[in-house]
Symmetry: C2
Subunit: 141 residues, 2 copies
DNA sequence: CTTGACCCTGTAGCCGCTACAGGGTGCATA
DNA sequence: TATGCACCCTGTAGCGGCTACAGGGTCAAG
């Protein structure tokens, strides 16, 4: 007999609710049911969930993971598409880092200018109130 | 007469719906209404919304912004609390950057190992399927 | 035969918006 | 006066990726 949902969850570092969620959205195939209506998972489920969790830990979104699973199922295909997805994600990560670094710099600058004292002449508050006091280009998002 | 919501929105780089959202959650005080039930905003609203938008662009969450607005209203207070909020946020930004850099490295490594060819022996797919092929410690979150 | 750990379904909430639907207002033009 | 259009109003649902219940059923041990 296969794994119960709790066992699968534990084996993959997933919450039980999350496993059910993945099934609901069609990311993980439905499991057989026992006579008591418990889900019963196969080693194939375990592999797939490991794949999913690994991809999630690397920040891939669900849509990407769907595509990757789909591709993994067609071993004869050219892997350019896999590359494209991974590179696109890498680019997104790098963009995010760049934006966060801008925030980091601006926050550091703001905090560094505050020499203690009253809120009334706190540089942090002043800067928030007046964007022109910024080194400017911290973007939205 | 004050600004209409669309004017306020444009002046601050905000969407009209977002302005109404801020009012609904109590981040922006309610505006007076015209005879036609249009919101009418004062310069004080404009300032506050600019403050909010600026803080949002710097990544502060709504709860932090609430606190900052509250503090900005009490100029005689010690600004240590302002500092605490800003430093906490900076720390969060730095943590996020660190996590993203780990992802970036791992993604780079994965992508660099793929030499083209079929999905069947694509290193990207293999790595996703088997966490032990990773340099390990890219965290969750 | 009861306890307690597990399982089931279904639904609502998190964040910070965004995007409608379905209606009203206000001003310019034909 | 009628029409059109840009704007405004309220209310609600959706996004992603879970998470956290409520309210019930199952199963093995003692």
């Amino acid at each position: 007999m296969g794994l119960k949902i709790g066992e699968l969850a534990q084996a993959t570092g997933t919450k039980v609710e999350t496993v059910r969620y993945y099934e609901r959205i069609g990311l993980l195939p439905e499991a057989e049911r026992t006579s008591g209506n418990y889900r019963s998972y196969t080693p194939a489920h375990l592999d797939q969930l490991n794949f999913i969790r690994h991809a999630r830990r690397l920040g891939f979104d669900i849509a990407d993971i769907r595509s990757l699973l789909d591709l993994a199922d067609q071993p004869e295909r050219d892997c350019a598409e896999v590359d494209r997805i991974a590179s696109g994600h890498l680019q997104a990560v790098e963009d995010k880092i760049a934006r966060l670094v801008l925030l980091q710099e601006e926050l550091n600058r703001m905090i560094g200018q505050c020499r203690g004292g009253r809120v009334g002449n706190c540089r942090i508050i002043e800067t928030l109130a007046d964007h022109s006091l910024c080194r400017s280009d911290h973007a939205g998002g």
